[in-house]
């Protein structure tokens, strides 16, 4: 049976989501998206220029992808809500990654304002994926009010520091029914693989792909890391042991029926 991720009524094959900031040009970004096979692509509304064919980032997103507008630049729930409404009004769809950041130094999200925005935007019919600092109670509240998934950060945006928040995300994976998608800070394909191995539903990567020397191949490498990790998760990775356990048991002959 095909392993599909269901979010907001969509059945998604690729568990690798990609961001669109920081690329050196849009055609290269497009190739990176295509090479990764990503189906969910996040775009900051602040960067969308509908007046310009040449500079409209949306023109470079493959038509097969779902655009998930993010509210980058929002400092509170009210601004995030206004950005989401602007996105919908401009025809950019109703998938919203809520990003409320009141700290431009670390770019860490404000969970309380994010929760407020989630509640209202869900009621307005948006498919809401809140970007958050990993916190079980907050994630529960967000899911209770209708978030389609929650997106805890692995480490601060753009830091490429990997999965520094693993313990907290593991708890969320164990306890929350909605998909957990690790967003931000993943620096290597092995980070993405690790997220999938312990049960995350998907990952979202931007900086590590965009600023690499070869974004097209790096996007593919992340995507392959995600596939490997997911496959391993589905195969139920055996528990770790302190002592060696030979693949061919030494006393196996005793059970042989001669």
């Amino acid at each position: 049976m095909e392993d599909l991720l269901e979010i907001g009524g969509k059945k998604i094959k690729s568990r690798f989501f990609i961001g669109t900031g920081k690329f050196s040009d849009y055609p290269l970004m497009q190739k990176a998206i295509e090479s990764s096979g990503a189906e969910i692509v996040t775009v900051a509304l602040r960067r969308v220029d509908l007046d310009s064919l040449r500079d409209n980032i949306l023109e470079y997103i493959p038509k097969s992808c779902t655009v998930m507008i993010n509210t980058s630049g929002a400092r509170n729930a009210e601004e995030a809500i206004r950005i989401a409404r602007l996105a919908k009004a401009s025809g950019a769809g109703n998938w919203i990654k809520i990003e409320v950041i009141r700290d431009n130094k670390y770019l860490l999200p404000d969970n309380l304002e994010t929760l407020k925005a989630t509640e209202i935007l869900v009621k307005e019919g948006f498919v809401v994926l809140p970007y958050m600092s990993p916190d079980l109670s907050m994630a529960r509240r967000m899911v209770e009010c209708g978030a389609a998934a929650v997106m805890p950060l692995g480490s601060p945006i753009g830091s490429n520091r990997g999965l520094k928040t693993k313990e907290l995300i593991q708890i969320m994976v164990d306890e929350i029914k909605a998909p957990i998608i690790v967003d931000a800070g993943l620096g290597r394909p092995s980070d993405a693989c690790e997220c999938m191995e312990f049960g995350c539903s998907a990952v979202l990567v931007n900086t590590a792909v965009a600023i690499s020397l070869d974004p097209v191949n790096m996007a593919r490498a992340f995507s392959e890391g995600v596939i490997a990790g997911r496959r391993a998760y589905l195969c139920k990775i055996p528990a770790e042991k302190n002592i060696a356990s030979p693949s061919s048991p030494l006393t196996g002959f005793l059970r042989q029926d001669k």
Partner: protein
């Protein structure tokens, strides 16, 4: 609380004395990065600055252009072409002219503009600026102002008319030199200007851009004080997008000679030191610098560049200027938006023409 409380701690110290002052670890490193000794290690700090910029901003460059609405001025800043004493043709754009400028600029694809006026509340009144904003809002997605210092309430009034960014340079942090450079006009109030960025932040500006006019004083000391000012704003207004500018004095009308010239090498050191000290701030580079130098600085930490600039009132659309017409300062980079875009693309950087919107 005001940045002045921090300035006061260093008021009496020249740059050489800062190393022994009471500093935090990152401030001490900042002093070290700005020191004459580090001039011998420029490549090393430039590489660090490049990596930090790449991680935080990627290979992108935001473009904007200034639009001068008026050059009437009541100040007598010694270094400025708009000095009230200068016998130049004074002009204030009519609303039709503002519309024409807006149409011209918007055809280049730019979505970010910076409105400038000389310092004259009487001529370039707030109601005139608000009426101008009503026109400009229809063309641009982000509007910043670089005008005379305002009260918090006045900034809030402009925000509600569509302004999202404030640019205001202290010009020179040394209070004594500031007094000499700005002896006439409202701008002589050092404290009112020093606190203007903070008033803008309190009023709800999305971004605030501060700067020093390089050349008026020992640049090492001035850049240290600029960096501390940016850090003060970052610490107290964490949701604010903070930017700094590094304008170097350019020739203008009159016989003002630069007291403390700043070399290209110095600019590189300043840029790298600021980037390492404050990894997340925006850094702007204007057309005061020549095209080749600007191109070379792109990877070092710059995040915003002006393009297609004119420092004349109505300069975007005016075909010819009368003999008496004078710019605020002479620009060195006269490339239009298309040429700047091409230069960025050649360097492997994406020109970003829109990075905010009215919300």
């Amino acid at each position: 609380m005001s940045y002045y409380n921090i300035y006061e701690k260093f008021k009496q110290l020249d740059f050489g004395q800062l190393a022994s002052a009471e500093l935090s670890a990152d401030e001490a490193e900042f002093v070290s990065l700005l020191s004459p000794e580090r001039e011998n290690y420029l490549e090393e700090i430039a590489k660090r600055a490049h990596q930090i910029t790449l991680r935080n901003f990627g290979r992108t460059m935001q473009l904007y252009t200034p639009i001068y609405l008026s050059n009437y001025c009541e100040n007598q800043c010694l270094y400025c072409g708009f000095n009230a004493e200068n016998k130049i043709e004074r002009k204030k754009l009519t609303f039709d002219e503002i519309k024409a400028e807006a149409e011209f600029i918007s055809k280049t694809g730019l979505k970010h503009i910076l409105i400038l006026t000389g310092d004259s509340r009487a001529v370039s009144s707030l109601s005139y600026i608000k009426d101008a904003l009503k026109i400009l809002r229809g063309y641009f997605s982000s509007i910043s102002i670089e005008i005379y210092a305002l009260s918090e309430e006045e900034y809030a009034g402009l925000i509600s008319e569509g302004v999202d960014g404030l640019t205001i340079y202290q010009e020179v942090y040394d209070q004594g030199i500031y007094g000499k450079m700005h002896s006439v006009g409202a701008k002589r109030d050092y404290l009112f200007r020093l606190d203007a960025p903070e008033r803008g932040a309190k009023a709800g500006m999305h971004s605030v851009n501060i700067g020093v006019l390089l050349g008026l004083n020992d640049w090492r000391r001035e850049v240290f004080l600029l960096g501390l000012h940016a850090k003060y704003l970052q610490d107290n207004y964490p949701d604010l997008e903070i930017g700094v500018s590094l304008p170097r004095i350019r020739p203008q009308m009159g016989d003002f000679s630069v007291p403390n010239p700043v070399s290209d090498k110095n600019i590189v050191q300043i840029l790298a030191a600021l980037r390492i000290f404050l990894p997340r701030i925006g850094i702007a580079l204007s057309t005061r610098e020549n095209p080749e130098f600007r191109n070379n600085l792109i990877p070092l930490g710059i995040t915003r560049m002006s393009a297609g600039s004119s420092t004349y009132v109505g300069g975007h659309t005016a075909k010819a200027f009368s003999d008496k017409s004078v710019p605020q300062f002479k620009i060195s980079d006269e490339r239009d938006v298309e040429e700047v875009r091409k230069a960025l693309e050649k360097k492997g950087y994406q020109p970003v023409l829109k990075d905010w919107m009215h919300i």
